[in-house]
Symmetry: C2
Subunit: 312 residues, 2 copies
């Protein structure tokens, strides 16, 4: 099964918006920034040990007609929800459900289009709802690597095992942040009214106001365009209010249950290492010739977390 190519190219793509500039002699009178390594440069110079393979037991495949979306679960940050979502996948709860919503500059959401009528999909052995895991204790967060950049939503920000996180040391809490590609658990008004039967992914400007308000379970690491290009739903909040608009889900599978040869063979950069700090620095401090101004700052949700195909 093919799926969209992941993202060393994505790293390069952040670099420039190019128009043709054939021919004219370049004026040297303007102030130039010294060249600096780009993210692409850092990735090219990375070592095998800078990368870790996905854990098949904590990787989901969302199989759509257009291809496969690969989601890495973060059980340290939502242990009960990660377990329950795998249980739902293994009892084939999601198979035949649908993408029910696509809202511009916000989210794509999937679940049971018949949740409120008599065709509702029944949950067998998994849980329909769970106690909220909006935050977890700091001690859940292994290998936290702090970003010193200021953040208005969290006292501390950084990365933990390939995920973007916020932390409040005084409250003793940590949580996954709602950056592009992050996957969360839809719920009703009650905190404990979600459980994983309906999930969403961020497809626009990071809605960080949802941090600490909703359980976040993981991150899309491949196949994002299959979701981000979906037509926007015509109903309020982007819901697909007619069945013909809904995109069918063929299956959601745990990667460990898929024959090894059919799995996505991806690896994620280790965010606790020095090479990842170089990736962040390449985005924080930008050099010439294209850049004329360097921000000396990096927003948590602009920080790339590189993913690539494993070398055979």
């Amino acid at each position: 099964m093919s799926y969209p190519k992941v993202s060393v190219a994505l790293a390069l793509g952040i670099a420039a918006l190019l128009a043709s500039h054939a021919g004219a002699a370049e004026k040297k009178t303007e102030k130039e920034l010294a060249p600096r390594p780009s993210v692409g440069d850092v990735l090219k110079g990375s070592k095998p040990g800078d990368w870790r393979p996905l854990d098949p037991e904590n990787t989901l495949y969302l199989e759509l007609p257009g291809g496969r979306v690969v989601i890495e679960l973060a059980p340290a940050f939502a242990p009960n929800h990660a377990r329950n979502i795998k249980a739902l996948a293994r009892e084939h709860y999601y198979d035949g459900l649908a993408i029910i919503r696509s809202q511009d500059n916000f989210v794509v959401q999937w679940g049971d289009p018949h949740e409120d009528d008599d065709k509702v999909r029944k949950v067998k052995d998994a849980q329909k709802t769970l106690a909220a895991e909006f935050t977890v204790p700091l001690s859940n967060d292994r290998q936290f690597t702090r970003m010193r950049d200021v953040d208005g939503f969290a006292p501390q920000i950084g990365h933990s095992n390939g995920f973007p996180v916020g932390r409040d040391p005084k409250a003793g809490q940590t949580w996954l942040t709602h950056c592009y590609g992050m996957v969360g658990v839809a719920r009703g008004n009650e905190s404990d009214s979600g459980g994983g039967t309906s999930l969403y992914v961020v497809t626009g400007q990071a809605p960080r106001q949802l941090d600490r308000n909703i359980t976040v379970v993981g991150r899309v690491v491949a196949g994002m365009p299959l979701l981000s290009t979906l037509p926007r739903g015509p109903a309020p909040m982007g819901f697909y209010d007619k069945p013909e608009l809904q995109v069918p889900i063929m299956a959601v599978k745990v990667a460990a249950d898929v024959p090894e040869a059919e799995r996505a063979h991806l690896e994620v950069m280790r965010t606790e290492g020095a090479t990842y700090q170089a990736v962040l620095d390449a985005q924080r401090n930008r050099g010439g010739p294209w850049n004329k101004y360097s921000p000396s700052y990096l927003d948590l949700c602009n920080a790339q977390i590189p993913v690539r195909e494993q070398k055979p």
Copy 2:
């Protein structure tokens, strides 16, 4: 000509990610946030004077096979580029060119697919390149309304006449920020190598590192999904490297040149007024029953700038 409906619904859509919660009695033991006005509430209570119509002389229509994208130009922030882009539109420079690039979580870009070969579209009376307008003097910025929220990219942030801005008072400079939907001018390595023949729009997490590095000319106020859902280009940086992938541009027109009955009749909330401050506050301080935590903070590029159809 029809174009996608604009965005009182968008304002409502920020509010919640709902899953069905039929039936169960609600536990009242958890700490609840007091209800607060939502953005939708503020919009419903707004007065006619809180809104201003688009200026047809500073509004562009990007006419695509799928419909119309409406772009509001900001001549205060890029006077020469705004003037030149209108001149390019009026000499029909863009007509028959194409969308040449769509990169996930970054930009969609349009221009001349033949810029580097003998089929290049010639510029007649407009300019092919202009001196950069990466920033303009503070005095260009009328009716700046400051946001007190901290920002890592700019000493000051806020809004000016319906546009998101950054400011550096010490340097005496201001600029438009690269929020979702903002339109900028593609350039080569040289600062003065762009002029408006190729433009792009932000379709993902705000790439604020481009602020002060590239001329920003305006904002998409309607039709954004026509761009944000475009398939991602297969070449590096999302370029459509085969002609059959490129989306043809039927025309780019200045709204003033279109018969009044065929124009988009839109109005934008006045960002200098008290009602707009209430819109910001509704996003900064969130209330129950759905929200359980209020961030007391708002990112510049999460701040909605409401647009609606004019009442007849």
